[in-house]
């Protein structure tokens, strides 16, 4: 029986390595559609946990993704804001012995990181990891279990279309293993009613998917394995559960100064905290803002503004009607007549909107 279990584990590892090899081969051949298992393997190779704060524990407070082989990781700014001590955690998948029902091995490597560039409004931070694991051989990090070859994910700077499939990866709830979820791009919208910080707002990708604490900053991949954006948060549900049941999760305990509370042996303490009831609608920072921040971190010239319809999007700012593209010629109407027409239109329009609000039509 023991031999059988080891044989099965070996087979699983072999399949896993074969899948990863297929992923890397496909990437080398250019854009292609990946299956969900391939995307998961791709996510394992490129997604990291981000541990941040004064006196940090090893539990992730956020997630991130390698975006450059120069050792840059992209995450959300709200994950690392006010943090004096930031670490990027590369976790190895656990190896399990089903016969003994135990975890044989699970380990991770922590790298020190600093904020190289940030954009508070877009809620993006680019971390510079030192030493750069891509520059330090061997690239293949070995463990008792399967090997991981770190990869840097490409950014898809074009906005996705509603209906596109997406895969969220991260280390939510302090879990040691990478968790992925599939969802659908529901919309691209100018989000003004959801803010995880005081300043974060702007154009966002809306994803039909329930994300969790510490998913923040985690990559959302398209079916080609490119990063569509970073998970920023989840709309809270406006509807309360009738029974008032609330999900709970374990989080590191901190004092009033955000310092980790430890016991007499120096071990970090944990507390049970209620989770916000989620609506299942997640907000994603588009990869274009990540690219802008990455360019700044690498000292490159900023990308030109993206023109979409009558809206110009530059960084996270929606800039409309710049002087050279706005209307230049006024009609032959007098100011008085135009003003009269505009105010009359407003009255008709308001009557229409009020009738719609009350459910009747005029």
């Amino acid at each position: 029986m023991r031999a059988l279990a080891i044989f099965l584990l070996t087979c699983l590892s072999t399949v896993s390595v074969a899948q990863k090899a297929a992923v890397h081969n496909q990437r080398a051949q250019g854009p292609t559609i990946m299956s969900t298992p391939q995307l998961h393997q791709w996510a394992i190779s490129s997604t990291v946990a981000v541990v941040a704060g004064p006196n940090t524990p090893t539990e992730a407070l956020g997630s991130g993704v390698w975006v450059s082989k120069d050792g840059y990781v992209a995450t959300c700014w709200h994950v690392v804001k006010n943090a004096s001590d930031i670490q990027v955690k590369v976790a190895y998948p656990g190896v399990y012995d089903l016969e003994k029902n135990i975890l044989v091995s699970a380990s991770f490597t922590l790298y020190a990181a600093t904020v190289a560039a940030s954009d508070e409004k877009s809620d993006v931070a680019i971390l510079k990891v030192s030493p750069n694991p891509f520059a330090t051989p061997p690239l293949v990090l070995t463990n008792v279990g399967p090997k991981i070859k770190l990869v840097s994910a490409d950014l898809r700077t074009a906005l996705p279309n509603p209906g596109d499939l997406a895969l969220l990866a991260g280390y939510p709830l302090g879990k040691p293993d990478l968790l992925t979820q599939t969802g659908t791009v529901a919309a691209v919208a100018l989000v003004y009613d959801f803010q995880v910080t005081e300043v974060s707002k702007g154009v966002r990708i809306i994803l039909s998917l329930v994300s969790n604490p510490a998913n923040s900053g985690g990559p959302v991949f398209d079916s080609d394995g490119k990063v569509l954006g970073l998970l920023e948060g989840n709309y809270p549900s406006p509807v309360k559960d009738e029974s008032q049941r609330q999900a709970l999760y374990l989080r590191p305990k901190r004092d009033a100064n955000s310092n980790l509370v430890r016991d007499a042996n120096g071990e970090p303490q944990f507390e049970i905290a209620p989770m916000t009831q989620n609506s299942g609608i997640s907000v994603v920072v588009p990869a274009r803002f990540v690219q802008s921040a990455l360019d700044r971190a690498q000292g490159k010239a900023p990308a030109p503004a993206q023109v979409k319809g009558s809206v110009v999007i530059k960084d996270n700012e929606v800039i409309n009607a710049p002087p050279d593209t706005g209307p230049k010629v006024a009609s032959s109407l007098s100011n008085v007549e135009l003003k009269r027409q505009a105010l009359l239109f407003c009255r008709h329009f308001e009557v229409f909107s009020v009738s719609k609000r009350s459910g009747s039509d005029n």
């Binding site: 100018l190 003004y192 209307p327 230049k328 100011n335 135009l338 239109f345 407003c346």
Partner: protein
């Protein structure tokens, strides 16, 4: 807090909630279609004419999406407010 729904069974309340959601979506869809057919062109014509006569810094960049898509009642309110604001800034 008292529930706005009558005291019925859980299934009836869930059905009422689902019906309310569907009605709300249908209303929004109808409103958006009517905005497109009855108001959009005129709203944009008036805005562009007002923009051409007023300084550039009077333009509200955030309003463009509302004019273009008329997403919901808040957007319609925003359009009306924006047109009223611009027209009142116009010298006679």
């Amino acid at each position: 807090m008292t529930s706005p729904l009558p005291s019925t069974t859980r299934e009836e309340r869930q059905a009422a909630w689902a019906r309310l959601g569907q009605e709300s979506l249908a209303l929004q869809k109808d409103m958006r279609e009517q905005y497109y057919t009855r108001f959009k062109t005129e709203a944009r014509r008036l805005r562009d004419d007002l923009w051409a006569r007023l300084p550039v810094d009077t333009r509200d960049p955030q309003s463009v999406l509302f004019y273009d898509y008329g997403l919901n009642l808040i957007s319609l309110r925003h359009i009306a407010d924006d047109l009223e604001r611009l027209s009142k800034m116009l010298p006679e």
